[in-house]
Amino acid sequence: MTELAQPASRRRNWRSAGLWIGGTIVGLVLFCALFAPLLAPHDPFAQDLTRRFLPPYWMEGTDPAHKLGTDGLGRDYLSRLIYGTRISMLIGIMTVITSGLIGISLGVVGGFFGGRVDDVVLFIITCRLSIPVVLVALAVVGLLGSSLTLVVLTLGLLLWERFAVVARSTTMQVRHLDFVSAAWCAGASRPWILLREVLPNITSHLVVVATLEMALAILLEAALSFLGLGVPPPAPSWGVMITEAKEYMFFSPWVIMIPGVALFVLVLGINLLGDGLRDFLRTGETS
């Protein structure tokens, strides 16, 4: 009995739309981050107390030199926004690398060796899941002082659980496939099998996890900076920008709208990219 699904072409169009939109957003942000000095019209740290709270270009009383207006200390909003992409991307990428290394190692080891080793790995994962992440991150930064490096380290040491879970389950699946047994029989050593047979096949799933974790790391850093326990001001982290603006948000809502929308769009773009990648990679699989 055959029950065909929706025509495949329509599904693919929808999925690739997400992939393209997400990819464009992320690419744009990455571009801004890399070329910030060239793109930003002003120095993001330059204060001008005579020109505080100039509104953005779509409102009245604007200054064409400051397209998105200025903040409470007269700093150009657009420039701070552009430089803020550096912080977000740095946080996102560095955290993912750190947490990815930890999580993937744990997951692959547990999934590959099974038995007691796997029990230990599962136990470690369960412990990590039980810890309230935001609270611990806040506590660490609160105790040791705000800094970019500390935030990256803390988030990297805390956000590895999804890597571990996915790496473990995909490794377990791959381990039982025939080509791994074939390699065994041919006399390949364990590290060789891990590196050459297992890893390439779990990479596609892990790339998707990486995008999701990157989005999460960026959101968390913004939240931490918003509470004053993340990247220290005057760094133009979008979280910092929002917290600096919140005292004035009832009078000029645009001060929190601009960095907030930027944050939202970036995270949305990363998620779209991740979802698009997952569907794109899934159509290439046989199972």
Partner: protein, 305 residues
Amino acid sequence: MLRFLVRRLIVALLVTATVLTLAFALTRLSGDLAISIAGPNATDRDVELVRKAYGLDRPLIIQYLSWTGRALIGDFGESYFFKQRVATLIGDRMPITLTLGLVGLVIALVISLPLGILAAVREGTLIDRIVQIVALVGQAMPSFWLCLLLMIGFGLQLGWLPISGTGSWEHYVMPGIVLAFSAIPALTRLTRSGMIQALGADYIRTARAKGLSRLSILLKHALRNAAIPVVAIAAVQLGFMLGGSIVIETIFALHGVGYLAWESIAKNDFPVVQAVVLVLAVIYIGLTLAADLVNAVLDPRLRGA
């Protein structure tokens, strides 16, 4: 079933012990606590006094065992700042956090269950797309920013809801909505995929062949099977919410456990921080145990009969 539960319980206890240790280690990260407590203007003598007063001169292992031993019976010591027993502090604030968490979970379930079911029944259509977009938007929304937006919108411009403090149920609406936002994407996706799978199962075809009504098939036959993973995730989400409410409580000035933790971090009040981490972890562990129990009830195959 009993063996299954006992095994889970043992693991839960081991995890608790580990988290205990981690919570203790957390506060000792900055090195000498006495210096942090005494403040930047303290002399060496002040620091020594502080050290003796708080028992920080004892060997680390003694401090650990002493705290652990007393924590097990619920004695978390005294707060440095509030001059109250930590257990009392937490006990006073916990109901607020729990209420917030439950409000958030209820709102999340009320929104994501119907949405997930709708998307599954109308799989592949425009409605399905819209639901998926809603889930995406929810996932990308920074919670602290959403708090501010709601404050401006509902608090200021419309004047419907209070923007801070605790008092009546109205104080929980906006925080609850923000909290729900964090759980809705995952719950919606899971309900949708679970329902799609359940609706494609052979026993649904049998139910249709028996002439059962569409509602009965949807809610009685399909949802019951789709609910199993959703329940597990809902419990986990509640755990996350309780831990993640710190930001929301701080912004809305809700005096719950999260706000307490925030204040304590700012004031280097270590006993409180340690205790809150431990309590939240234990609650999470308890929730996952409860989720396993509910799963065993919902899925007879898990009972190992």
